[in-house]
Symmetry: C3
Subunit: 305 residues, 3 copies
């Protein structure tokens, strides 16, 4: 599959975006965060509409884009697959074209199918922001994770980030892999063999147990275990998974003193991440959520500029 | 059934509305479209609330009313049957009275039952805009279709508009029939005998195959085939329907050189409308969507004035 | 169960709130109602966000909080359990912490579980407004009912309010009991023995038939019969219930000349309340709805101040 990082001002993925382009976007996010803090926000998208088109369930991403858009002065049209004409059999592209024809300034699209954001971007004149497409990319998540680590460390060069869990099905892992490596970090993917994409060991370092790489990590990013995968026999049980790949309190105690823990949410507490670690001093989970707002402001500003 | 076109400033249907009244409303829509284009919108409904009450699924109509209201400066309360007290057994009229008692300036109501908008208008002091009631009327759709044709042709007198498909169950057909004829067009209804309302052949011209009237048409408006009707034996199969009533590329090629194609959406591509015609140069489908905004601004302005 | 009335500026229940505190809040609501009437509203929450988190269905309460927040100048994030990460198994507290981390000024929370609002308030730094938690409390409803009666009577001292119906499962009954008694009213609870909480006869006057107390009442507040309780054998049938506890036209005719009728909605017409009484001159039902707006403005203002 050829991946196009952006069609015009769309943001479809982070693969192939240059380091200066990423750094520019993240610097702009930092300015928005400052403006939120000191009350100097400007309604640069005043009078414009952003359509939030979520064909898949979401709490934080949808609300985060909504707040980001409104803080920029835009109005938001919330559209979900439930309660819409999708239930009458309208195609994805017809729905996207229709919402676009309403005159919105940008479409934020989440869908279960990989590549949907790109399909949408090719079908309409309006910029499309990928809010997660199947197992492909979730670029605003990758950006906010990079932002959160940069805020902590200043720069990513020389840092080791371990991304641990169901890498095979994770758009979060893919977007982070691209962004963090482009920004200079060493990324190590850690997953059961059945949940590691074929060929990824040629692309970057891979491991099959968290213990093999735990003490190297400056950050461990846990991925959500989709418990429904168990039925598909990708892994035998939640308990077995947690024993090899879960970040327990005992494992967290063996991490470097300053190392941090991240999770894109929603968390399965006690499976991939122990409650005391999720709520403990290493955890950046809620900072990630908070940083989503200024990062998405930068993304929407770029899309609608 | 006696039909009341409006109770006060409500818009319940287009039947019985005079030509000057329609022309006045459409002229106002044209002014709003101009104001959107040159950035001279005024928040005439600032500080007021419009309630979008959709008891039936919708994408474009709900979003279109929401954008129209917000462009006029109003706030919008989105209310859907899912997630509401309807699931606790509250009656339609109690729900309508309650939302009205919140102090909204207008109710936009869609419901599966014909006559619901009128029932609502009689139950509350607030103006009601019918956003589609069962198989009765969908007046804002009729207005935006008339607006789109007027924008194209200047006037409708002497023009032939063919409305083709499931006329029996189509509120879009009814509203267009009333509006287009009042504005001077010749309207021809084309449907299988099982899907043509009894008595309509006394009311206007009717046909039972698209080929009988295709070459006369200045516009062909296709109606959405509700595929669930097949189970009710209104027509034998989607393929059979398409052969007699579908606008295929071959048929589109036989239309007058300047003739146009319309569809209220959502489209069943390949059933009532071939994809290459839907996306081709004759198609006004996306203009219809775009024109929905200024038309609904005029409707809401009239309701709340 | 220990009940905490408020954690900081949260509003979790009315139990234990002092008379001056209630009167202050209601006086502020009266000022907001006046400001709505004479067009002198000030956007005191401009630039801030209120999250409406409804884990349980609602029409009037959700819309009422939304209008109240917007009339104060705030933006509203509407969050419902459907279409969210709750469907992916996220815990209640993680969801609440996440929405809080977005940077909202207040959380309005409705949930089927008693005590959830308090749990939420202990988990986040942001004030929480209880919009109904299981069978515990629904404080904004208790306040708006008190407001509506004060508006009618000036003061509650010496007045008798009968709360009739399924007291056992009613958070509305509990919040009203606390508020109305604190403000000086005599409250009589009337319910079938199976639907009266154990021990409440030590707490206040209780009756087991509406006729025993009807002629004493200055106000009768009917509670919604949850018809699904019949299956649980709390009462034998809707008809049997109505005969002893329903406010029929005949019973309404026996009330004091100026006595009023209230219902929190949604109404089961013909079960707990006869249609002609619900729509008749004694009914304050729609005033209750209208008063919900200024009361919730006062509640949100207090939370975000």
């Amino acid at each position: 599959m050829t991946v196009v990082a952006s069609v015009g001002r769309s943001l479809l993925g982070l693969e192939g975006i240059s380091r200066p382009a990423l750094e520019h976007l993240l610097a702009r996010a930092a300015e928005w965060k400052r403006a939120m803090g000191d009350g100097t926000l400007k309604p640069v998208l005043g009078g414009r509409f952003v359509a939030n088109m979520f064909f898949e369930d979401s709490t934080r991403t949808r609300s985060s884009f909504e707040m980001a858009a409104k803080l920029l002065g835009a109005e938001v049209l919330n559209w979900t697959a439930r309660g819409s004409s999708t239930s009458k059999g309208e195609t994805f592209l017809d729905t996207v074209r229709n919402v676009s024809a309403l005159g919105v300034a940008a479409l934020v699209v989440r869908h279960t199918a990989s590549g949907c954001a790109q399909l949408a971007a090719q079908a309409v004149d309006v910029p499309v922001v990928n809010a997660g497409d199947g197992t492909h990319e979730h670029p605003s998540q990758g950006l906010l994770d990079a932002f959160t680590l940069l805020e902590r460390w200043g720069r990513l060069d020389g840092r080791t980030v371990v991304i641990c869990g169901d890498v095979l099905h994770s758009r979060v892992a893919r977007s982070n892999l691209h962004a963090l490596r482009t920004l200079g970090a060493r990324v190590v993917l850690c997953a059961p063999p059945t949940l590691m994409p074929a060929g990824f060991d040629a692309l970057c370092e891979t491991r099959h147990a968290l213990d093999e790489v735990l003490e190297d990590a400056d950050a461990v990013m846990l991925l959500r275990v989709q418990l429904e995968r168990m039925a598909e026999a990708f892994f035998p049980s939640a308990g077995e998974y947690a024993r090899r790949f879960g970040l327990t309190a005992a494992r967290a105690a063996r991490m470097k003193p300053d190392a941090v823990v991240m999770h894109p949410g929603p968390i399965n507490r006690g499976v991939e991440l122990a409650p005391e670690v999720a709520d403990g001093p290493r955890s950046l989970v809620l900072q990630q959520v908070a940083n989503g707002i200024p990062v998405r402001m930068a993304v929407l500003e770029r899309a609608c500029a």
